[in-house]
């Protein structure tokens, strides 16, 4: 229901409105500048620049791999957190949020100290002939590190919203935990999982600091789109702008898709509430 809001009667009432407008302009202006400064032709030719082509492919490859890893490992973790409420899991869930708030440069250094040559696991990994830093695998690890918490948090809260009576009914109908998970819990949480996956992917796509520290900025190997934008800035603004417009478009598309996706599933959710 929409209530009628009375128009402001005093000039003082306009102050918050002014502040709100100012912030709105500030938030949209840079993005508008980015789009307006690059035409279609310039964007397309910028994206054909060798730096852009290899970064595009690398970003696609690494964020795809990190997303798959996060979905495969994060879903069971989220399920565990949701199904075992208590002090321990609460602490665990809080710790898992750390990578969201820690500065990316700190994450990069931490990853180096854990998996670097002289890091905690470095010598052990070297025993298997594996050296992670400054490889494409390091990019994936950095992306998983900074993006996984977004998915795990969203997935756990989606699982927590499941009606516990459904689990009991499913069990009484002979369904074991795995059948309940795949047939009931997963479909009913799909909306939350998809939103979490989208957030997680976009965070991985934008990952810069930890990647730079842990994987470096090697064209074709570890130079993802954000790093390529940074590199291109120093020589030629064209490809930098083109890649930025592309990332902006992807981000916008993602936001719209998540909005659409959740709207499409609303009926299902309503059904859950009603049933």
């Amino acid at each position: 229901m929409r209530l009628r809001i009375p128009p402001p009667r005093h000039l003082a009432a306009l102050v918050p409105l002014l502040g709100a407008g100012l912030l709105l302009v500030f938030l949209t202006l840079p993005l508008a500048a980015l789009v307006l400064s690059s035409g279609w032709g310039e964007t397309l030719s910028g994206l054909r620049h060798p730096l852009a082509v290899s970064a595009l492919w690398l970003s696609f490859l690494t964020t795809g791999s990190s997303l798959i890893l996060v979905l495969l490992l994060g879903t069971p973790l989220a399920w565990f957190l949701a199904r075992h409420p208590g002090r321990l899991t609460e602490t665990l869930a809080t710790l898992l949020q750390l990578p969201i708030v820690v500065p990316p440069a700190v994450s990069g250094l931490a990853l180096l100290l854990a998996f670097g040559r002289r890091g905690l696991l470095g010598p052990w990994l070297e025993g298997f002939g594996v050296s992670l830093p400054f490889t494409t695998a390091a990019v994936v690890l950095a992306e998983v590190f900074v993006s996984a918490p977004f998915y795990v948090q969203a997935a756990a809260s989606a699982f927590r919203r499941l009606d516990p009576a459904l689990l009991l009914v499913a069990r009484s109908l002979g369904a074991g935990p795995s059948r309940f998970f795949f047939r009931v819990a997963l479909p009913l949480s799909a909306r939350g999982l998809a939103a979490g996956a989208a957030m997680c992917w976009s965070r991985a796509l934008g990952e810069f600091g930890a990647t730079l520290m842990f994987a470096g900025n090697l064209t074709g190997r570890t130079q993802t789109l954000p790093l390529a934008i940074y590199t291109a800035m120093e020589t030629d603004l064209g490809p930098a702008k083109a890649m930025s417009v592309l990332l902006l478009a992807v981000a916008l598309g993602l936001l719209l898709a998540v909005g659409q996706g959740t709207r499409g599933l609303v009926t299902r959710d309503d059904a859950q509430r009603a049933a």
Partner: protein, 233 residues
């Protein structure tokens, strides 16, 4: 026949219960916090650390002294929670078929069709629970429970979620179906009209103990406790 001697501890609360439930409906009544839902969950096998024995039709489902405790999944006891517990993303048909996975496809189809027909749901079998009325949902829950050919049926406040006119209609429908059952059905309710409609024996639970039990006529004409007297007013 369902025979239970159950002892449940949940924090400060203790439920001590001896039941002999014949086929057909048996109502469980009692004040709030008496342990009615706990009793259902204990029979279902959903609670940890339940002591005692439970057997249905000769099958031992719990015998804590001998270390027997059949898990919920294998008890074959149907459970209908207060808001029916329908799977909102599955059609009426898929809800009813949910408990029949172990059957061959042909038998499953037959069993589901029979349950849908019996409860008058065939015409809405492809709809989602969210689009059904309260009475229809209740029937889907019952169809799903009966389709698995359970050893016993547990219903927790089956009519509480319905508005008054629907409740009147569904009450007689439900009572008729439960009276025709060849297996015991335990029905938790707080409404004397439900108890009268069911017509079966009655268990009065108070503070985790059976305060009175017997045929409807006996308990109705001579209630043993204050709650029992107030219940029929």
């Amino acid at each position: 026949m369902l025979s239970a001697r159950l002892d449940v501890r949940r924090g400060q609360f203790r439920l001590s219960l001896t039941l002999e439930v014949p086929p057909g409906p048996t109502a469980i009544i009692g004040p709030n916090g008496a342990g009615k839902t706990t009793a259902l969950l204990a029979v279902l096998g959903a609670l940890p650390d339940v002591e005692g024995t439970l057997s249905v039709d000769g099958a031992t489902l719990l015998d804590s002294a001998r270390g027997v405790d059949v898990p919920v999944e294998e008890r074959r006891i149907a459970y209908v929670p207060q808001d029916y517990g329908l799977f909102p993303h599955l059609s009426v048909l898929d809800n009813v078929a949910f408990g029949l996975r172990q059957l061959p496809a042909d038998d499953r189809g037959e069993r589901v069709a029979a349950a849908l027909h019996q409860l008058g749901l065939a015409h809405i079998q492809h709809r989602l629970p969210g689009s059904l009325s309260g009475g229809e949902r209740q029937r889907v829950a019952l169809a799903r429970a009966l389709a698995m050919r359970p050893r016993a049926v547990l219903l927790d406040e089956p009519l509480a979620a319905l508005d008054k006119p629907t409740r009147l209609r569904v009450r007689s429908f439900l009572a008729e179906h439960l009276r025709g059952l060849a297996v015991p059905a335990l029905v938790v309710t707080h409404d004397s009209a439900d108890v009268l409609a069911l017509g079966g024996p009655l268990v009065v639970l108070e503070s985790g103990q059976v305060a009175q039990t017997g045929a409807l006529g006996t308990v109705h004409s001579a209630p043993a406790t204050e709650f029992g007297q107030a219940f029929w007013r």
